[in-house]
């Protein structure tokens, strides 16, 4: 037993040494001149953070996540130490109901009237009176693809329909060059239901069963379900098609161009229509430094700043005065700034209650595991 113990203790010590104490930073000085932001990965121009620090003297600590699920779980746990978090519109009502975020002090946000009224109307069901949130970026879910690789396998086919990814006969032809789907149950079911001609916000489990059956038929051709890996995978040419978020696919395109690796990435909003979403700035109730968070939101409301942010992320912002300042290539791209005609085919996802959410996630697990 002694030997076993010694061996175990030696092993345990090594294990302890192997794990770095990452949580130690969290406890550091509350408030003060630090702003802690928790935002989506690949979602800000680092130069903008530097400029903010230069202007205000407030140091920025910036952490990232790649799914609403991770963000919401952390924020609902409380005591995250973040001053600013960026959830998507359809999750917002749950944050508000749980008392997880605080109302904004609009006196500290002079740029609010720059926001586009048409987009704010989309936001109204999620955040009545715009009391809690300020939109950062908006985007769509669509198809990102490697132009040459797909053209070789589907000659003459225009990539403009959900059919390419949801029709097993079509997707089978792309299996060998790599297919990625988002691992985001709510987003994926919204577009799958829409493709099947059902209400993307259906509350009927049978509709989700039908979508699951459809997804089960295409899943053998999917290499991986993941919500952020596809950016690099598309850019490197490791995969040839992915269901992804608009700006992320366009970033993959830029990265491929910068790497000069000969990979040509394109994005398409399918003609059947798709989900449009908004990511919004909100302040957790227990934020150590809400004043700094307000200053940051006010900073991001400045047209010239948010225009730079859009140039980097290749997502549209909600700031009317910023649009003329955004790079022409981006603001004229209907995949980024949807034309009124495209906008008509876009829909928002509503909030699900706990039982439906559990049912949807249970079905999603069936899709993921294939059983």
């Amino acid at each position: 037993m002694r030997r076993l113990l010694n061996a175990l203790v030696l092993g345990a010590l090594l294990a302890v040494a192997a794990c770095s104490p990452k949580t130690a930073e969290k406890g550091q000085a509350k408030g003060g001149d630090t702003l802690r932001i928790y935002n989506w990965s690949d979602y800000i121009d680092p130069a903008l953070l530097e400029q903010f620090t230069k202007e205000t003297g407030i140091k920025v600590t910036y952490d990232t996540f790649d799914s609403n699920e991770v963000l919401e779980t952390k924020v609902l746990q409380g005591g995250t130490g973040y001053d600013l978090v960026v959830p998507s519109n359809h999750n917002l009502p749950r944050y508000i109901a749980a008392g997880a975020i605080q109302p904004l002090d609009k006196k500290q946000l002079p740029g609010l009237d720059n926001l586009r009224p048409d987009l704010m109307a989309h936001m109204a069901p999620f955040d009545p009176g715009a009391a809690y949130a300020v939109p950062y970026m908006q985007g769509t879910i669509g198809i990102g693809y490697n132009v040459d690789a797909v053209a070789k396998r589907l000659p003459g086919v225009k990539i403009d329909s959900w059919k390419v990814v949801f029709d097993p006969l079509v997707l089978a032809k792309l299996k060998d060059c790599g297919v990625y789907f988002l691992d985001a149950s709510e987003d994926m079911y919204a577009v799958a239901l829409h493709y099947l001609g059902k209400d993307p916000n259906s509350k009927n489990p049978a509709d989700y069963e039908a979508a699951t059956a459809m997804l089960m038929q295409v899943r053998p051709f999917v290499r991986k379900f993941h919500s952020s890996e596809y950016i690099d995978a598309l850019a490197n040419g490791d995969v040839c098609i992915a269901i992804g978020y608009s700006g992320d696919v366009l970033q993959a395109k830029t990265r491929a161009e910068e790497a000069k690796n000969g990979v040509k990435v394109a994005y398409a909003i399918p003609k059947e229509g798709s989900q449009v979403w908004f990511d919004v700035f909100t302040i957790p109730k227990d934020a150590p430094n809400p004043a700094a968070a307000h200053r940051f939101i006010a900073y991001m409301l400045r047209p010239e700043i948010i225009a730079k942010a859009s140039n980097y992320t290749q997502y549209a912002n909600a700031n009317a005065k910023a649009t003329p300042l955004v790079d022409e290539a981006i603001r004229d791209d209907p995949n980024v700034y949807p034309t009124p005609e495209v906008s008509k085919r876009l829909f928002v996802t509503t909030t699900k209650d706990q039982d439906l959410l559990r049912e949807v996630n249970r079905q999603w697990t069936r899709v993921l595991t294939g059983r």
């Binding site: 061996a7 175990l8 192997a18 746990q77 749980a98």
Partner: protein, 293 residues
């Protein structure tokens, strides 16, 4: 141990109570709660302001409904069995690979031994995540492995995002935890035992099987425990190297915790894993210890 009682005896118990029993009770309590839209997202919570009545109401509101759900849905059983299968495969491979390594190191001259033990531990100097990402670069379709196979004129393999890749990653990551306990035992073995066995007519092979190996079983058991238990609950390696059909409990707990925001269900899965895996192993350990004594 006799006569050294006191603090030395209490400390391990304090350690166990503080770092095992207390967290476990918290998780067990959570598994009896229900989800709620609040911070934190579960109910009931103890209302301390009402004193004993608050505690009583709290206890009355706990129920085992979550466990009922675990038995009704085959997903949990499937995930459990496939976790055990993967962990068992990994542990078996680790024993096969780790034993010769540990034995080889223990047989070297002391100066070389130190260098070799260092070499086993050396990978820890690089971040765990970086090392697993490196495996992605090796295993991906246009990766290092296929380039090497191509250069040798062999057909390419596509094993990234499969169970094979998961087991490969597990074996790689846990190898030091198998080698070091084995080495610790083998290194202390008295070589005169082998000489005695050979004097009594044993061949080197039978001396190994009848002397060295039986004496090294505690090390092998320690290594197997250190590897098997965390591998059964492993999340990061299957997430990065596995495909979505690699169903493991770590992923199930993740889904419950993050996607469903269902802390009680996540806790219940964890409790079941602990109760059905760790408890029998500990009982077995105690029994083994008695036999050894």
């Amino acid at each position: 141990m006799k006569g050294r009682g006191g603090l030395a005896a209490i400390l391990p118990f304090l350690w166990l109570a503080l770092f095992f029993a207390f967290p476990f009770l918290l998780v067990a309590k959570l598994s009896l709660s229900d989800t709620a839209l609040a911070i934190p997202p579960y109910a009931p919570r103890i209302d301390w302001s009402r004193g004993l009545a608050g505690v009583r109401d709290f206890l009355a509101a706990l129920d085992v409904e979550t466990y009922g759900r675990l038995t009704r849905d085959r997903l949990y059983l499937d995930a459990y069995l496939s976790s055990l299968r993967i962990a068992a495969t990994g542990t078996g491979l680790l024993l096969l690979i780790g034993y010769p390594i540990a034995y080889g190191i223990a047989r070297c001259p002391p100066a070389v031994r130190q260098a070799l033990v260092m070499a086993v531990v050396l990978p820890f100097w690089t971040s765990f995540l970086i090392r697993i990402y490196a495996w992605i670069a090796i295993l991906k379709p246009a990766g290092v492995l296929n380039a090497a196979l191509g250069a040798l004129g062999l057909p390419p393999v596509d094993i990234l995002n499969t169970e094979t890749a998961v087991i490969l990653g597990l074996v790689y990551a846990y190898l030091p935890f198998m080698v070091l306990p084995l080495y610790a035992v083998l290194e202390k073995q008295d070589e005169s035992l082998i000489e005695a066995a050979q004097d009594l007519g044993a061949t080197p092979l039978s001396a190994f099987w009848r002397v060295t190996f039986p004496l090294s079983i505690p090390g092998a058991a320690a290594g197997a425990l250190l590897c098997f238990i965390p591998m059964a609950g492993e999340f990061v390696i299957p997430d990065l190297l596995g495909g979505s059909e690699t169903l493991m409990l770590g992923r199930v707990i993740w889904t419950e915790f993050f996607a469903n925001r269902d802390w009680p269900a996540a806790s219940a899965v964890a409790v079941v894993l602990l109760a059905t895996l760790v408890v029998p192993i500990l009982l077995f350990e105690r029994q083994q210890a008695k036999v050894l004594r």
